[in-house]
């Protein structure tokens, strides 16, 4: 018993402590920024899109060899003796014409392994991180600064030199420059800085509405081929009947109809129907079918009921709003009908215990 209360109190207390934490956080300023309008400041060593400064590139191929995913593609052509390609910014003399320098930035894994081996620091990572494209082919960045004709020219010179060498050595000829890719010679992409009616009163309309709901859904209950549909139509029938009870002035009975029938019995029925396996494939048919006796029986019954309904003198009374039956019912249950009330309670208790013991297994 003590354990029980302790558990309850402990639960409540820890919940309140947690609530205090979240409440305090409501007054802490937000830690997020509103991205496209406000951008975070990136540190200096940030690794984003690559850029190659072709003036400094000596074509040593170190970056391409260091790359773990082989995203850098370099081709060079030796210059003929006598040609001056100039110096890089840290004084190295350039000896190779770089005819192809492609970086497939979609393959790049941003590991920076290409930056470290470069002797002239010509390849480095910029701070551009927004470079989405529509076509996949636009991800292959081309950094070469020579025009197509110049490339052809260099290669021709080289080839002649080689041919001379070869001719001197009588060896086979080397292949000339291959065709350039369709990409024009814009040197890569520059780094930039880159969201009633006349006679009908309200009550008549309501009555006809509820009556229609009851009748129509009752018809569907009986004629529907799908058991689940039939069960749900029963729901509407009960609801309609509750409405009619209200119109008759039995308000408490209507509420109880809703609570017990709709909220209890119908839910039980629906659970039972839904859980039964393969319920939608069962064909609802009776074994025996004697149409003639059935027709005679139904006809007799309809006739009798109809005759009674049509021949009775239905009283039309203009009454005021009936008063609530709640207090009267309450009193009567406890004073006049108390024995029946208690017996019903015991009956329900027995049913409850029986159900619980059956479900225990």
């Amino acid at each position: 018993m003590i354990n029980y209360l302790q558990k309850f109190w402990g639960g409540l207390f820890t919940i309140l402590i947690g609530m205090r934490v979240t409440f305090k956080h409501m007054f802490v300023p937000a830690v997020t920024i509103q991205y496209p309008t406000v951008r975070p400041e990136l540190p200096e060593r940030e690794r984003n899109r690559l850029y190659v400064n072709m003036d400094d590139c000596i074509g040593c191929d170190q970056c391409s060899r260091a790359c773990p995913v082989s995203c850098i593609d370099i081709e060079t052509v030796k210059s003929i003796p006598g040609e001056d390609l100039g110096k890089t910014s840290n004084g190295k003399k350039k000896a190779l014409w770089v005819t192809k320098f492609d970086i497939d930035i979609a393959k790049c894994c941003y590991c920076e392994l290409c930056v470290f081996p470069c002797p002239t620091d010509c390849i480095y990572m910029t701070d551009v991180y927004e470079f989405s494209e529509f076509e996949r082919s636009s991800f292959i960045y081309d950094f070469v600064t020579l025009t197509k004709e110049e490339i052809e020219d260099k290669k021709k010179n080289f080839a002649e030199m080689q041919a001379q060498k070869e001719a001197a050595k009588a060896a086979a000829a080397i292949k000339a420059a291959e065709e350039k890719a369709a990409k024009k010679d814009e040197p890569g992409k520059k780094p930039d800085n880159e969201k009633d009616v006349k006679l009908m009163g309200v009550y008549e309309i309501i009555f006809y509405l509820f009556a229609a709901v009851t009748l129509v859904s009752a018809v569907f209950v009986v004629t529907s081929r799908n058991i689940v549909r039939a069960a749900f139509n029963l729901l509407f029938t009960f609801f309609g009947v509750a409405g009619i009870y209200v119109l008759l002035g039995a308000d408490f009975v209507a509420i109880v109809q809703l609570i017990v029938y709709v909220g209890g019995i119908l839910i039980l029925l629906i659970f039972g129907v839904m859980i039964t396996n393969k319920i939608t494939e069962v064909d609802i048919k009776t074994g025996t079918l004697h149409t003639l006796p059935a027709a005679i029986g139904v006809g007799l019954f309809t006739g009798i009921v109809g005759a009674v309904v049509l021949n009775t003198e239905w009283r039309v009374v203009d009454s005021e709003m009936p008063e609530s039956t709640l207090t009267t019912l309450g009193h009567m249950l406890i004073t006049e009908y108390v024995l029946i009330f208690e017996l019903l309670g015991i009956l329900l208790l027995i049913a409850l215990i029986g159900a619980a013991s059956m479900a225990r297994k």
Binding site: V197, D251, F271
Partner: protein
């Protein structure tokens, strides 16, 4: 009453009834849901150190309207194996169940949908329609997970109706009426006349009742949380376990109806708790209108206080949602049957004894 005034005004009972039926929906529930959805996102954001919607409108005020427009133009997907009639009917039933409760709630001294004598019991009965609607939704989705979610939701709601009813019985015992309007009217005066402080009659009974009223408030608050499927009782809509439970298969406007129904239900439940224990539309300090002599101001003031109390409880519900993890389904049931119901019974018996003495 508003109904009589409307009948005089329009000259016809039918039109008056129609207006009375539609008015709470248009004027209150819909804008309220718009505000509530946005409030939930903003409250959750601030509790989590972030900002929430900021772009649409000033600081995101128009976000819900954008969401509504988006949902309206979404494709209505109905799988071929679904039961079309039931599938289409389910959201309507759920919404009808939540909205029908508003008929009996007094928004202020002058406006109440219907002065039904059995106010509280009527509300409990009508939320049973919500259960039927949920079952229909789960079944018609033709999806194992949805069916599971729907069954759990139904079991949860009907189990937690019991402590609710028991505490309602307790309040009936003290006040002698279930009519929500009379219940609110009884708690006039200052805030120490509210039911949570023992009721309007001064005396020994009032002071003895205070701890029991507080515990009863706690029990009914927790049970109402379970009835509207909010965390920690949100197993039917648990995203990480059942991918949205019984409304997985719904898209577009029908999903919006489920959403609307949940928030309308939340408000109905907050309103009931406010009426039962915190004085309904009564102000805690007396009326500005009365002291200034402007009698017509009083109903508006009452409406203001009613909304404030309802919104406060909604804030507490949201606060709990973002603080607590969720219960497992069998723990949920155990909690109801082993803790809530015994407590509710004990409170009932003891309060009964106190009122008799």
């Amino acid at each position: 009453m508003m109904y009589d005034w409307l009948t005089e005004f329009t000259g016809s009972e039918i039109i008056a009834a129609l207006i009375q039926g539609w008015l709470p929906l248009l004027l209150f529930v819909l804008p309220f849901v718009l505000v509530a959805v946005l409030a939930e996102r903003k409250v959750s954001a601030h509790m989590q150190d972030r900002l929430g919607p900021m772009r649409v409108g000033y600081h995101g005020i128009l976000q819900t309207i954008a969401d509504l427009l988006k949902l309206l133009q979404k494709e209505d997907i109905i799988a071929s194996a679904n039961d079309k009639k039931l599938f289409n009917l389910a959201p309507l039933l759920v919404f009808a169940g939540s909205y029908a409760a508003f008929a009996a709630i007094p928004f202020s001294g002058a406006f109440i949908g219907s002065q039904i004598e059995l106010g509280l019991i009527y509300i409990v009965a009508v939320t049973g329609l919500v259960v039927a609607g949920i079952l229909m939704a789960g079944w018609a989705s033709n999806n194992k997970y949805s069916l599971l979610g729907a069954m759990r939701a139904a079991a949860q709601i009907i189990s937690y109706e019991i402590p609710t009813l028991l505490i309602i019985l307790t309040v009936i015992m003290i006040t002698g009426t279930v009519n929500l309007y009379t219940l609110s009217e009884m708690q006039t005066g200052y805030f120490w006349n509210w039911m949570i402080f023992g009721g309007p009659e001064f005396g020994l009974q009032k002071f003895l009742l205070i701890p029991f009223m507080m515990m009863g408030f706690l029990v009914i608050f927790i049970s109402m949380l379970a009835e509207v499927n909010r965390t920690p009782f949100d197993i039917p809509e648990a995203e990480s376990e059942l991918v949205s439970g019984f409304h997985t298969e719904y898209s577009g406007m029908k999903f919006a109806m489920f959403f609307l129904a949940e928030y309308a239900n939340m408000f109905a439940v907050s309103a009931i708790i406010a009426i039962m224990f915190f004085g309904g539309f009564q102000s805690p300090f007396g009326y500005l209108g009365n002291s200034l002599g402007w009698e017509w101001l009083v109903p508006f003031e009452q409406f203001f206080w009613f909304t404030v109390k309802g919104l406060f409880f909604i804030f507490v519900q949201m606060w709990l949602r973002w603080t607590l993890p969720r219960f497992r389904v069998d723990q949920l049931m155990a909690f109801c049957w082993k803790y809530m119901i015994p407590f509710a019974f004990v409170i009932l018996i003891l309060v009964g004894l106190i009122t008799v003495l």
